[in-house]
C-alpha cells in the first residue's frame, strides 16, 4: 500500500508525471499479475497489459482513494478474466493427448508443492485449486487487499455472500494444508 502519499502520487500521475505513474504501477502490478495468473493463467500477461492501457486512458478522470483505485484496477482485470472465460466456453474442447495426460498425472500436487516451499507461485497454485468464484474473492480479499464491501461491489455479490465465500475458501485451504501435514 502506498498509504498517505497516495493522493499526491495519483495527482502526479494524472498530471503526466512518469515517476508517479511508475510508483502506482510498481505497487499494484505484481498483485494484478498474481490475480490474473491464478484465474486466467494462459492470458495473464496480455490481460494485465490491456488492463493497464485501460487504466492509463481513464486515469485522468479517476477520483478516489487508494482502495478505490485498487478496486477500479481489479474490476477492469476481472472483466478481462470474464471475457476470456466466455471466449473459452465458446471454443470446442480438444481431446487430451495420452502423453500429456500421463505427464499431468505424474506432476506434483499443488498443495504438496505449497507445503514444501511456500513461494508466491506455489501459494497461488494452491488458491487456484479452489472453485473459480471462491478463488476470485479470496484473491481480491488477500492479494488486492480490498475490504468485503469493495469485493462485493467488484464481483456483484452481497457482502454476506462474499464473507461466506472467503470463509469457505480459506477453510478449504487450511484443511488442505493440514491434511498434507499429517499425511506421511
Amino acid at each position: 500500500m502506498i498509504g498517505e502519499s497516495f493522493d499526491g502520487v495519483l495527482a502526479g500521475a494524472q498530471d503526466g508525471d512518469e515517476m508517479a505513474f511508475a510508483c502506482l504501477w510498481r505497487e499494484t502490478n505484481p498483485l494484478l499479475l498474481r490475480f490474473l495468473r491464478t484465474l486466467a493463467r494462459p492470458v495473464a500477461e496480455d490481460a494485465a497489459a490491456e488492463t493497464w492501457v485501460q487504466v492509463v486512458r481513464g486515469l485522468g478522470s479517476f477520483r478516489g482513494n487508494e482502495i478505490q483505485f485498487r478496486a477500479w484496477l481489479f474490476t477492469i482485470a476481472r472483466n478481462k478474466v470474464v471475457d476470456w472465460r466466455r471466449a473459452q466456453a465458446r471454443r470446442p474442447v480438444a481431446p487430451l493427448d495420452d502423453e500429456v495426460a500421463e505427464s499431468l498425472l505424474t506432476t506434483r500436487d499443488a498443495a504438496e508443492a505449497a507445503l514444501e516451499e511456500l513461494s508466491t507461485e506455489s501459494a497461488l497454485a494452491l488458491i487456484a485449486t479452489l472453485p473459480p468464484a471462491t478463488a476470485e474473492v479470496v484473491l481480491l480479499r488477500v492479494v488486492a487487499d480490498l475490504d468485503v464491501a469493495t469485493v462485493a461491489a467488484t464481483v456483484g455479490r452481497s457482502p454476506g455472500a462474499v464473507r461466506v465465500a472467503v470463509h469457505r475458501g480459506l477453510r478449504r485451504l487450511a484443511d488442505s494444508l493440514r491434511r498434507e501435514r499429517v499425511t506421511p
Binding site: 493497464w52 454476506g160 487450511a174 494444508l177
Partner: protein, 216 residues
C-alpha cells in the same frame, strides 16, 4: 469479519494481511504472520498464514519487468497520441508529403484549378460553345452553380419576321412613333438610336416592318 452469515468466533484466526479496523486481535494476527507456533501445533491456520503472506508479498523482479512498456504507454497517452494513432498519423503524413512533393502532381492541380475556374466563368458569361456549356453546367451543377435560365423568346415562334426583326420588335422599335410625313425619324426617338447602336440599325434594315425608316 463478522456478520449474520458467519459466526464471529469462526473467523478469528484468518490472517488478513492488511486487515483494517476491527477484524482480528492484533496479537493473533501477529502470531499467524510469524509462522507456525513453536509448540509444533499446526491446525492448518498457521500454514495458511504463511501462504497468505506469500501471495501478498512484495513484487518480484519478473513481476516488475514490464515497467518500461507501461511507462511508454503512459507517455503516449499523456501526449495525446497512442502508439497506434501515431503510427497511422506518420503514415498519412508521409503519403501526403510524397504526393505533394511531386511536381507533376502540383502542375496537374494547378491546371485543373485554372481549367475549372475558367470554365465556370465562361459558362456563366455565356462565352462557351453550347455543347461545352451544357457539359460545364452539368459538371459544375453539383458545386452550386445554377445553369442560366434561357431568355424567353419575346415573340411567338409563329410570328412573322426574321430573328433580327424579332429582336427589333422586342427592343421596341415597333412602338416608335410613326415617321413624320416627308421627314426623317430622328435619332432621339429611341435610346438605342441615340447611341447609334449598329445592331439595332441592322435590325431595322432587315425588318420589313421598319421599312419606313430610311437608310442613313
Amino acid at each position: 469479519m463478522s456478520g449474520p452469515d458467519v459466526p464471529p468466533d469462526e473467523m478469528v484466526n484468518f490472517p488478513w494481511p492488511g486487515e483494517r479496523a476491527g477484524a482480528m486481535p492484533t496479537q493473533d494476527l501477529q502470531a499467524l504472520l510469524n509462522g507456525p507456533s513453536s509448540s509444533g501445533e499446526d491446525d492448518g491456520w498457521a500454514t495458511l498464514a504463511g501462504l497468505l503472506r506469500a501471495v501478498a508479498a512484495p513484487g518480484r523482479a519478473e513481476e516488475l519487468a514490464g515497467l518500461a512498456a507501461a511507462v511508454a504507454v503512459f507517455r503516449h497517452e499523456r501526449d495525446g497520441i497512442s502508439p497506434v494513432h501515431r503510427r497511422d498519423e506518420a503514415r498519412r503524413t508521409t503519403m501526403l508529403s510524397t504526393f505533394m512533393s511531386s511536381r507533376t502532381t502540383v502542375a496537374a492541380f494547378a491546371a485543373a484549378a485554372v481549367g475549372v475556374s475558367a470554365t465556370a466563368a465562361a459558362a456563366c458569361t455565356g462565352a462557351l460553345p453550347e455543347p461545352i456549356k451544357r457539359t460545364a453546367y452539368r459538371i459544375l451543377g453539383a458545386s452550386g452553380l445554377q445553369q442560366a435560365q434561357p431568355v424567353p423568346d419575346p415573340l411567338p415562334t409563329n410570328s412573322a419576321g426574321s430573328a433580327p426583326a424579332r429582336l427589333h420588335r422586342a427592343v421596341g422599335f415597333d412602338r416608335l412613333p410613326p415617321a413624320r410625313p416627308g421627314g426623317r425619324r430622328t435619332r432621339e426617338g429611341h435610346p438605342l438610336l441615340r447611341h447609334g447602336d449598329g445592331q439595332a440599325r441592322q435590325a431595322r434594315q432587315a425588318d420589313q416592318g421598319a421599312a419606313a425608316l430610311p437608310p442613313e
